[in-house]
Amino acid sequence: MKEETEEIKWLEEEPEETLSVNPKRFILWLFIVSILMLFASFTSAYLVRRAEGNWLDFVMPSVFAYSTGVLIVSSITMHWAYLAAKKDNFNALRIAITITFVLGMIFLYMQFQGWVELVRNDVYFVGNPAGSFIYVFTGMHAFHLISGLIVLVFALVAAFRLRIHAKSLDQIHIATVYWHFLDVLWLYLFFFLLYFH
């Protein structure tokens, strides 16, 4: 009992400050965890199925590599937007968000072209699961990317209304983190599919 008392005394020299991270940013990270789990589940299912054999081996359309590049560039422009907001550079902020949005749309278009290429190579959604999975991965990612585009639209509107500035960075921070997450997620899926073709 005496040791316990002394131990507590040592630990509580100062009262711990109750942890306080910005709640809205924290909420975003939790969303990211849940989306990660969704894709972890899909990729696990992929690996389990692949290990069972009867797996169609095909070449990933090259357009996916280019779309990856486009998405990386869009992350750079997104980050530029964030930096602009921090410096109250409203013009740059609006331009950067717009460019990111356009690059995002181009990414989606290129993903669709990838699908066209897959169909041309006789790889369909219905058929060998190897083909089905690639449509699921790219489709689910595209769905989440669309949600990212919606977040960008809200950020753009807020930027125009001067609601984003050096003293009010939460919204642009959340949009930036989410966009980077979508980029990293795609990189993971892309290299996963490349390696476990």
Binding site: L30, S34, S41, F154, D170
Partner: protein
């Protein structure tokens, strides 16, 4: 709280609380963003679903207990599912069993239990004005409502609701021609569950954020009530495991509606060879049970947290082993993710893998037992007050232990070969999870009714309700162990096809069914008590149970923002009951050590010097009130 567009909710949250104009009826009671209102919405929804879910079980128990009984009297309720000879349709029997499971596990014991009590208690017990995001909270309830609508509509389809068991394994659930319940009923089931999962994720994210970010001054993690620890860990479990069910549901939707072959392979049905090749039904089982097992802890942990709180308060003793309780819950939460295949022992897995899952399953019994022991030790030599809430909490401990020990038997992969899909499993999970959690829900309602509604429930009715239900549940599920060992299979409409079932235990089955009807009737006593007390119950005092936690420091019925003035700071843990030397037999959390010199332990006297520092700390008040 003007939140006309999502843009304004994403902006600095100061703007939301600068002005407090009166909210419209729609904003206050329908699309409410106040956690207390949302909790009540969940509670009412949970109660309605419980009535539906339990009614279904009574109907199919009538079939099992009295196979010759003419069920014409049910025709006004379920129409042509009773055929001309007065017999229940076997197809609808399967649908009833499926929907009973789905409704009870998801809509009553996940949404109704977590949704109600996490929403109601988290901000109040951690000392926050409301949840981190009232908007997401509102969305969480309304996604749940939409999910409920879809599931409810499926009950009235001509082809019937989903009928492949609550686990909806493919190929049965993937092929509309396999069973009529796999047609539109299954489509609605999947859509409903997708929305339900979204709802629970939104809720869980809010709970985690509020517990981590919005605790009041002085409320360190080691001073949190065990209810909050339980809700917190439950939300983490949900966050990680629900997306996996979503992925399983999505792939099943693709198999059903698009012709993919994730789960289907080499099937010949209704005279036709299906084109699907390469799928694996076992893949679905893995994905399903990866959620399915944590799900039972998602159902159980809140009830265990509620029990900790109620037993400590009503024993006038600190909970025995506060840190052990936390460590056990963490242990259970961690282990919950690595035992799922004990639901799949008979799928033909490598026996060594079976042993691995068996080993982990038996280990998870240890922290569970620690909790049970701690409840009992808390009761030991306590100054016990037998309120209805206390009785239900003690009843939970009883069911948890009875049901838990049969889990040790079922967790044994060799024994499971005999017992899988028998009534032994049904008895096990109803006792350990169904009845226990239901008792947690009821205990929570009895205990926090004064806080929710400002009135007391009738105690005598509560006692009668408890005894009838407690005895009734044991009478229903205890005999099922014998029936299960004898080999009676689950989900069977009748037992006339096997020699080992057709001539025995009919009387026991009848007994179970009679007890089911009686126990179901007893629940109407609770409903009457609930509604009557809402309107005419004795007005409650601020802290009728003399409890230590923060929710009892608000006004009798807390309003918007919970505390009219400053949020109290917290100085001590919530279990200072019957402290030697103290004036009263309880010392609330917000009473500083400087105010109780007569009962302070030596190290607590040292902490008095920290009080000023605690009061000056970062102040997580969402209303940005000056202090």
């Amino acid at each position: 709280m003007a939140t006309e567009s999502a843009v304004s909710t994403l902006s600095v949250h100061d703007a939301e609380h600068d002005h407090h104009e009166e909210l419209s009826f729609l904003r206050k009671y329908v699309f409410a963003e106040d956690h207390k209102t949302i909790a009540k919405q969940y509670l009412i929804s949970g109660i309605i679903w419980a009535i539906i879910g339990i009614s279904f079980s009574v109907i199919f128990r009538l079939q099992l207990g009295f196979p010759q009984l003419k069920l014409e009297f049910l025709r006004p309720l379920i129409g042509n599912w009773i055929d001309e000879t007065g017999k229940l349709s076997p197809d609808f029997y399967l649908a009833l069993v499926t929907m009973h499971g789905t409704i009870m596990v998801f809509f009553v014991l996940t949404a109704g239990l977590s949704g109600t009590f996490s929403n109601f208690l988290i901000p109040l017990q951690v000392g926050a004005r409301d949840m981190a995001s009232g908007f997401l909270n509102m969305l969480s309830y309304w996604f749940f409502f939409l999910a409920s609508m879809l599931m409810f509509v499926s009950l009235f389809l001509e082809t019937g609701p989903a009928a492949g068991g609550w686990v909806v394994y493919p190929p049965l659930s993937a092929l509309p021609q396999a069973h009529m319940g796999s047609q539109m009923g299954m489509t609605l089931w999947l859509s409903s569950m997708a929305l339900f999962i979204v709802s629970q994720l939104l809720g869980g994210i809010n709970y985690i954020t509020t517990v981590i970010n919005l605790r009041t001054r002085g409320m360190s993690f080691s001073k949190l009530p065990l209810t909050i620890w339980a809700f917190f860990l439950t939300a983490i479990l949900g966050l990680i495991s629900f997306p996996v069910l979503l992925s399983a549901a999505l792939l099943l939707i693709f198999d059903r509606s698009f012709g993919t072959s994730f789960f289907l392979s080499e099937i010949y049905v209704a005279g036709e060879a299906l084109p699907n090749v390469g799928g694996s039904p076992i893949l679905f089982q893995h994905l399903f049970w990866f959620l399915g097992h944590p799900e039972v802890y998602i159902v159980m942990l809140p009830a265990l947290g509620i029990t900790s709180e109620i037993i400590a308060t009503n024993s006038r003793k600190p909970i025995f082993g506060y840190r052990a309780m936390i460590a056990s819950m963490m242990g259970i939460a961690f282990l919950a993710f690595i035992v799922w295949a004990h639901h799949m022992f008979v799928t033909g897995m490598n026996p060594f893998l079976g042993s691995v899952f068996m080993f982990l399953t038996l280990i998870i019994a240890v922290p569970s037992a620690v909790k049970a022991f701690n409840y009992i030790t808390t009761l030991w030599r306590g100054n016990i007050r037998f309120t209805p809430a206390m009785l239900f909490s003690i009843g939970l401990v009883s069911f948890f232990i009875s049901g838990g020990v049969t889990g040790l038997i079922l967790g044994n992969s060799a024994l499971d070969i005999q017992l899988h899909d028998t009534y032994f499993v049904v008895a096990h999970f109803h006792l350990v999870m169904g009845a226990s959690s239901a008792f947690g829900l009821l205990a929570g309602v009895y205990h926090w009714f004064p806080k929710m509604f400002g009135r007391m429930m009738n105690e005598k009715m509560g006692y009668v309700h408890f005894w009838m239900t407690f005895i009734g549940i044991y009478c229903i599920f205890f005999p099922m162990h014998y029936i299960g060992i004898a080999g009676f299979p689950r989900r069977y409409y009748a037992f006339t096809s096997n020699d080992f079932t057709k001539n025995i235990f009919q009387d026991m089955n009848s007994f179970i069914s009679i007890m089911a009807v009686i126990t179901f009737s007893a629940q109407f006593l609770f409903l009457y008590n609930f509604v009557y007390s809402l309107i005419k119950g004795k007005k409650a005092t601020q802290n009728p149970w003399h409890s230590n936690t923060l929710e009892w420091t608000t006004p009798v019925v807390p309003g918007h923002g919970n505390w009219p003035g400053e949020i109290p700071a917290v100085y001590r843990w919530p279990y200072d009951y019957s402290k030697p030397g103290a004036k009263d037999d309880f010392i609330p959390q917000n009473v500083p050590y400087s105010a109780t010199p007569e009962s302070n332990l030596p190290h607590e006297n040292e902490l008095i010097s920290l009080e000023k520092a605690i009061e000056a700390q970062n102040y997580n008040d969402q209303f940005k009130q000056p202090h």
